[in-house]
Amino acid sequence: MNKTNKKVFTAMVVLLLVCLFPLLLTVLTSVIPEGDLFHIITGKTLLDFETNPMFLRTKMKTIGNKTYELLKNEKSESENTYLEIKNETPDELTGIGIFLGDKNFQLIKSFTCDMKISGGITELFIGIKDIDEQIKILPLEGDLIKADWGKQQIVIPLDRYEGVDLKHVSQLQILFSSPEVGDGICLDNIGVNYKFPTLMNFVNVWEENDFARYMFNSGVISIFTVLGNLILSTMVAYALARKQFRGKEFIFGLILATMMIPPQITIIPIFMMMEKLNWINTFYALIIPTLVTPFGIFLMRQYIEQLPVEIDQAAYVDGANDFQIFFRIILPLSGPGLAVLGINSFITSWNSLYYPLVMTNSKDMRTVQVGLAMFSKLNQVEWPKLMAASTLAGLPVIIIFLIFQKQIISGLVDGAVKS
């Protein structure tokens, strides 16, 4: 018996690992700088000068001297071209500017290049230009490669380049100055190394892709939905649990029946109504219809029914009215039931797509699910960013699940017993 149990246990663990692997994959991919989990790109070559000069013009420009030379390195066996640039005017900054398009320097650990320096050049300068044409040039700190070819590491101290938008850099400049005309540098194999692992993908989607706004919208909607359900659904449940009146069973049956009706039936008239009210793209449209749910009424009726009636009868004799009984006695005693209802409403509200998709069309009012679905359509290959966005959208619910799993599961089982 013990042996089979061990087998079952092992089988469960294996199944579980397979089952949760996709989630692990997501989190791991979100800390990759570029590429995907099976092709992590931690660095790449920006310029190796093996292309023809016309094409090179789309990749870089010269500064201080219009002409440069592409030379062949005779020492190496394969054909290897490098660039040489010399200064024309004494003490003027001369060098090259590499076009980067729109690069986030916070993702970058360092640049590297093969370099040879001639003459009396003692210092290199690194210039950074952002997409708004702001530029800052500072001397490069650290040791310099001397006379013969060597690998030069360029680590950029980001905090010293304040004033430049380091998240959107369009050009990196490698410059030198020398008092004597004819001094110059030779460059080859300019490359970039990324930080890995990095949290910049999260920062990026949060700040640059409106996920802060989406999360805020979803948060507001979920919180109001939860509060509404806790108070309003429980009020209705109280009446159904404690009051005797004609048509009670009919109403309760109707509430259960509405749980079965697919939301697709009601959404077109609700959309038309919201349009007439000018409520499309407002919190009203997204919150009000979900304030009372059949699930909430059902769950809380069950809960209140098993509270002893004697308590409210005693309060009634003492002169309390129904509202006092409800707010002072029933609500405080319903803690565990309210917890189940609140958590389940939060998850349903946070995760819903269909309803907010129909009721919003402005970017500012998108919920996190709508935002994520739209974001994926525009960024199909930027997996690290996509996975960071997915992690953000899933995280609140996962955290709540880890804390309140008991309530969530009991809500599910209770809700299921209904039919």
């Binding site: 018996m1 079952v8 089988a11 469960m12 199944l15 579980l16 996709p22 989630l23 994959l25 997501t26 995907d36 099976f38 309003l232 659904s233 009446a239 009051k243 509430i255 509405t258 697919p262 939301p263 697709q264 039936i265 077109i268 008239p269 609700i270 959309f271 038309m272 109504m273 349009e275 219809p289 304030l291 009372v292 009215n321 129904d322 509202f323 946070w350 995760n351 797509l353 269909y354 998709l357 129909v358 699910q369 994520l372 679905a373 994926s376 199909q380 997996w383 996509l386 996975m387 997915s390 959208a393 899933g394 619910v397 996962i398 699940f401 969530i408 599961i409 599910l412 089982v413 299921a416």
Partner: protein, 291 residues
């Protein structure tokens, strides 16, 4: 007498949140969309033109709707046996008094069910992509993989989404089946064991027959949910390629809120409701007969 009217008002006050919201966002839309389904209503043009059953007839002549209907059927029939089957096996394995960490396993299998379908779809878009997990694993095992996403081919897109759905949904049903198994009295198992029944005989002669109500319930809600498949289609393929993943609810969304043909959209919604009701009724019949 005065007290009684006061009582009425109090009752009304407590019921009012539901009365108001249900009339506005439940009853009225249900009736109104039924009316709309018999009209030509574009949403942009407020004139409703009564057209009788035209929208309903149009649906069954509409090639895309028929494809959507077929795909939805394939989706329902192709996922439910696997979702239920896997959930049943895991439920039975978990329902073992001596197994350690039962609650942990239950929660862990359930975890994907609380994550939104959009997030899950994103994860699987990534895994199905041309450089993703499945193509990488396939190449490692020596298969010749096509250099494109699984979701980009008309042959693999729908099965790929169905496979994902089984993964995403079964944990939910593990919980339900486990709750059903817990209600079977332990003495029955003990009695069977004393009579010398093996684990297989116990499963087929005791567990399954007593679990039937739970199983039928699981299949019923699974059917209702599967007929309404939308989020994964919207996020992963948008119904494509070439309508190979078009489903009823996704088509309904496109018709109503992309083309703004609200009359036709309402008719499709009612056809969906009819299908779900008929299937639920059939399932109920079968359930009554069997139990």
């Amino acid at each position: 007498m005065k007290k009684k009217t006061k009582q009425r008002w109090v009752l009304f006050a407590f019921l009012s949140p539901w009365l108001i919201l249900f009339s506005i966002f439940g009853l009225y839309p249900i009736l109104f969309s039924f009316v709309v389904s018999f009209t030509k209503y574009s949403g942009l043009n407020p004139n409703m033109e009564f057209v009788g059953f035209e929208n309903y007839i149009k649906a069954f002549q509409d090639e895309v709707f028929l494809i959507a209907l077929k795909n939805t059927m394939i989706f329902v029939v192709g996922t439910i046996p696997f979702t239920t089957g896997i959930a049943l096996v895991i439920g039975i394995l978990l329902n073992n008094r001596r197994l350690k960490g039962k609650d942990f396993f239950k929660s862990a299998f359930f975890l994907p069910s609380v994550i939104s379908m959009v997030v899950i779809s994103m994860i699987w878009i990534y895994m199905y992509s041309s450089n993703g997990l499945f193509n990488t694993l396939g190449s490692l095992l020596g298969f010749k993989m096509e250099d494109r996403s699984w979701l980009a081919s008309t042959k693999t897109a729908l099965p790929a989404i169905m496979f994902m759905d089984v993964w995403a949904a079964f944990g939910y049903y593990v919980i339900l089946i486990f709750a059903g198994l817990q209600s079977i009295p332990e003495q029955l198992y003990e009695a069977a064991r004393i009579d010398g029944a093996g684990p297989f005989r116990i499963a087929t002669k005791i567990t399954l027959p007593l679990l039937k109500p739970t199983l039928f319930f699981v299949i019923a809600i699974n059917t209702i949910r599967s007929f309404q498949v939308f989020s994964e289609i919207y996020t992963m393929t948008g119904g494509g390629p070439r309508n190979s993943t078009q489903t009823i609810v996704h088509y309904l969304y496109e018709v109503s809120f992309r083309k703004f043909e609200m009359g036709y959209g309402s008719a499709i919604a009612y056809i969906l409701l009819m299908i779900i009701m008929v299937i639920t009724l059939i399932q109920k019949r079968v359930l009554r007969k069997e139990v």
